[in-house]
C-alpha cells in the first residue's frame, strides 16, 4: 500500500495496532513529566490542612496501634518475641505501600479522563508517577519505623538487624512493580466495566489476611495454609523485610523466586493490556 511519498514520516497513526508494543522508549522521553506529576501529587495532597505532612505518618501509626490492640493483646498472636508495636509496624508499612499502589493505579484512566481526553502523552506516565509518589510516602513512613526502632534499642530491647535488611531497595522496587502491575491490569479492564473497581478495594482488604502482616508465616508451620499464604506474591516480600530489620520470621528464598516470576508476568501483562486500551479508551470510558 505505502508508496514512496509516505517515506520519512516520524509518527504514524494507524487503525491497526501491534500486538506487542511496550512503548517504553517513549515513556522515557517523558521522564520530566513523570517527575512533575510526582511533585504535583506530593505538594497538593495535604495543602490547606493543619497537620500537613504529619498525615503521612498518622495513618500507619493509628492502624498499627489498632493491630497491636486487636491482634497482639486481645487475640494474642505470637510476634516471635519482638515488641508488638514494632512487629506490626514493620509489616504494616510495606503492606500499606502495596495496597495504595494498587488502589491508586487501578482507576488511573477514569481519574485522568479529562486530561487524557484532551492531549496525548504516554499514558503509562500516570501510573508510574503514582507509584513513585507512593514510594515517597513509604520512605517517610519507613523513617518513622526506624525512629521508633531506635527508641526501642536505646531503651534496651534487643532488635536483631541482619544483612537481609540491605535487600530493602530491591524489595520495595518489587512491591512497586507488583502493585503497579495489578493496578494497570485492573485499570485497563475498568474503562468498560466499573464493577472491578469496587471489587478491588474490597479484595485488597481481604488479601491482607493472606499476607503475614499481623502474624508471622513461621507460626503457620508446614500447613497447607502456609503454602497458600506464601504463594501470595506479597508475602515473601513482607516476610523478608521483617526478617531483615527485626530478625523475626523466616527467609523463604524459594517462594521469593516464585514471587519474582509472578511480578514480572503481571507487570508485562499489565503494560501490554494498558497499551492496547490506551488508544481507544476515550470512546468507552
Amino acid at each position: 500500500m505505502s508508496s514512496s511519498s509516505e517515506k520519512g514520516y516520524s509518527v504514524r497513526i494507524s487503525s491497526k495496532s501491534k500486538m506487542f508494543s511496550l512503548n517504553l522508549k517513549e515513556v522515557l522521553k517523558y521522564k520530566d513529566l513523570i517527575w512533575l506529576f510526582v511533585q504535583r501529587d506530593f505538594k497538593t495532597k495535604y495543602k490547606q490542612t493543619i497537620l500537613g505532612p504529619l498525615w503521612f505518618v498518622i495513618q500507619p501509626l493509628f492502624s498499627t496501634v489498632v493491630y497491636t490492640l486487636v491482634f497482639g493483646n486481645f487475640a494474642g498472636f505470637s510476634t516471635d518475641g519482638v515488641p508488638q508495636f514494632l512487629f506490626y509496624l514493620a509489616g504494616n508499612v510495606p503492606w500499606l505501600y502495596f495496597s495504595t499502589c494498587i488502589n491508586s493505579t487501578a482507576n488511573v484512566f477514569v481519574m485522568n479522563s479529562s486530561v487524557f481526553g484532551k492531549v496525548y502523552f504516554p499514558r503509562l506516565t500516570a501510573p508510574i508517577s503514582t507509584v513513585i509518589t507512593c514510594m515517597l510516602n513509604f520512605f517517610i513512613q519507613f523513617s518513622l519505623f526506624l525512629v521508633i526502632g531506635m527508641v526501642y534499642i536505646v531503651t534496651g530491647t534487643p532488635v536483631q538487624i541482619n544483612w537481609v535488611a540491605t535487600l530493602l531497595p530491591i524489595l520495595i522496587v518489587q512491591l512497586a512493580m507488583l502493585g503497579m502491575g495489578f493496578g494497570i491490569v485492573i485499570s485497563s479492564l475498568t474503562t468498560k466495566y466499573r464493577d472491578l473497581q469496587v471489587l478491588v478495594s474490597f479484595g485488597v482488604q481481604l488479601l491482607m489476611y493472606l499476607t503475614p502482616v499481623v502474624y508471622t508465616a513461621s507460626s503457620l508451620g508446614e500447613s497447607l495454609f502456609y503454602k497458600v499464604v506464601m504463594l501470595n506474591p506479597v508475602s515473601p516480600i513482607v516476610e523478608l523485610i521483617r526478617y531483615g530489620w527485626l530478625g523475626s520470621g523466616s527467609t523463604p528464598w524459594g517462594y521469593w523466586g516464585i514471587s519474582w516470576i509472578f511480578t514480572m508476568a503481571v507487570l508485562l501483562a499489565g503494560i501490554l493490556m494498558f497499551n492496547r486500551v490506551e488508544k481507544n479508551f476515550m470512546d468507552t470510558v
Binding site: 511519498s5 509516505e6 520519512g8 514520516y9 516520524s10 509518527v11 504514524r12 497513526i13 494507524s14 487503525s15 495496532s17 517523558y30 520530566d32 513529566l33 517527575w35 512533575l36 506529576f37 511533585q39 504535583r40 505538594k43 497538593t44 495543602k47 490547606q48 479529562s114 486530561v115 487524557f116 481526553g117 484532551k118 492531549v119 496525548y120 502523552f121 468498560k192 466495566y193 466499573r194 464493577d195 472491578l196 488508544k279 481507544n280 476515550m282 470512546d283 468507552t284
Partner: protein
Amino acid sequence: MQSDREYAIKIKGLKKRYRLGVIGGGTLQGDLQSWWAKVRHKEDPNLKIGEKSREKNETFMALDGIDLTVYQGERLGIIGHNGAGKSTLLKLLSRVTGPTEGDIYMNGRISSMLEVGTGFNPELTGRENIYLNGAILGMTKVEVDSKIQQIIEFSECSKFIDTPVKRYSSGMYVKLAFAVAAHLDSEILVMDEVLAVGDMKFQQKCLNKMSDVSREEGRTILYVSHNMATIRQLCDRCIVLDHGKIIYDGDVERAIDIYLDLEASDDTYIDYAKIPRFYWLTNTRIQTKYAQYLHKDDIIFSRKEKQHILLKWLNEDDIENLCLRVEVLRRDRVPVGTTMLYDFYSGKKDEEGQVQFSLDISSLVPGRYATRYTFFYMDQFGNNFNLDNVNGLYFEITSEENDIVWDVKNWGSIELPQVKIEK
C-alpha cells in the same frame, strides 16, 4: 500540484466510527449474560423488545473517509457545523483516540491544544503550572527553562506568577495557559477554538503570534473555529467538513462561503414544528407555525420584485397589540437592516393568527440574505418584549446586467436613495 513540497501531515482513508447509545451493558454481569445467551442460541435477556441484537448498536460515522495532505508551513483552517467531524479529526491527529480505519502519517512533532490549560492544577502556582502544562504538552524541563521568561511576559501575569492559580481570574488563567501553548517547539500545532476565550486584545496577540511562528519558522498550523474572522486572519487554506467528509478544500473565502451556505435552504416554505426552539426563549406566548413565499417557486428575486410573505402562528396566551420585526441579515449573520410592523393584531388564547405582508427589497444590493422574524409587543415606554423569534426564509437577489459590481466589504449591503443634485 504541490507534490515537490514536503508534507507535514498525510491522511489516507481515515474513518472513525462511534456506537450510538449506551456502550455495552455498563456492567460485566450484563455483558456476560448476553454472551452466555448467545452461546446457547437463546434470546438475549438484556434486549429491549423489538431489538435484534444488543451488540450491533446503531453506529455513527464521525469521519467517513478523509484524504488530506497538509504541507509544511501551511495554516489550514477547518470549518463545518457542529457534528461535522472537526473535533474528531483533531482528536485523531492528536492521538487522543485511535482511528477505526485508515492511516495518518506525520512529519515532525505535533502538539495539540484542544483545550487551554489542560492539566492545570489549581493548588500550584503559575510558575509550577507552566512547567507541568509544558511537560504535558511535550516539552522537557530544559526547554521550559529556556523559555519561561518569554512565557511569563507573554501571559501578562508576571505579578501573580508565584500565586496559586486558583486565585487567578478566569482571564488570567486563560492567558497563562495560552502562553505556554504558544511557546511550544513542535513543528505541527493543532488548535480547537482555543482563541474563543480571553479578551479581544489578547486574542489578537495570540493570532499574531501564531501567524509569526508559522511564517518565520515554517510551522504547520491546523485551526478549527466557528469564528470566520479569525479563520480569515490566520489561515491560508481552508477545508469544509460536512457529515464526516471533506466537501471543499482550497481558498479561504470560497470555503467560508460554502460553509455559510450549508445551513441556508432554498425552500420557499418553512414548517417550524420540525425546528427546535431557542432555549433562551422560555416564556414564548406566540408559537410560529410556518412561513411561506406567496406566488413564488424559488428564492431568487430581482431588486424590482416585492416579496409576498405569509406567516401563521398560534397564540399561547391572549395577545394584544402584536408587533412583528423582520430582520435581514447577510449569510454570515451580520445584520443588514430591519423593518417593523406595529400593532397589527390582537387575539385570544389558542386561536391561530396569520398575516400576509409584502417586503420591499429594492434598497438591498445583489447577494444572498437570511432573515429572522420576531414577534414582540411594546409597552407605553417603548420597551419591547420578544414573544417568539425564528429564523426566516432565505433569499437571493440577482444582479441586473448593467449593474455596477458592488463592493460589499467596503460599501455595505444597502444602496441608499440616490443623491439629488440641488444646484
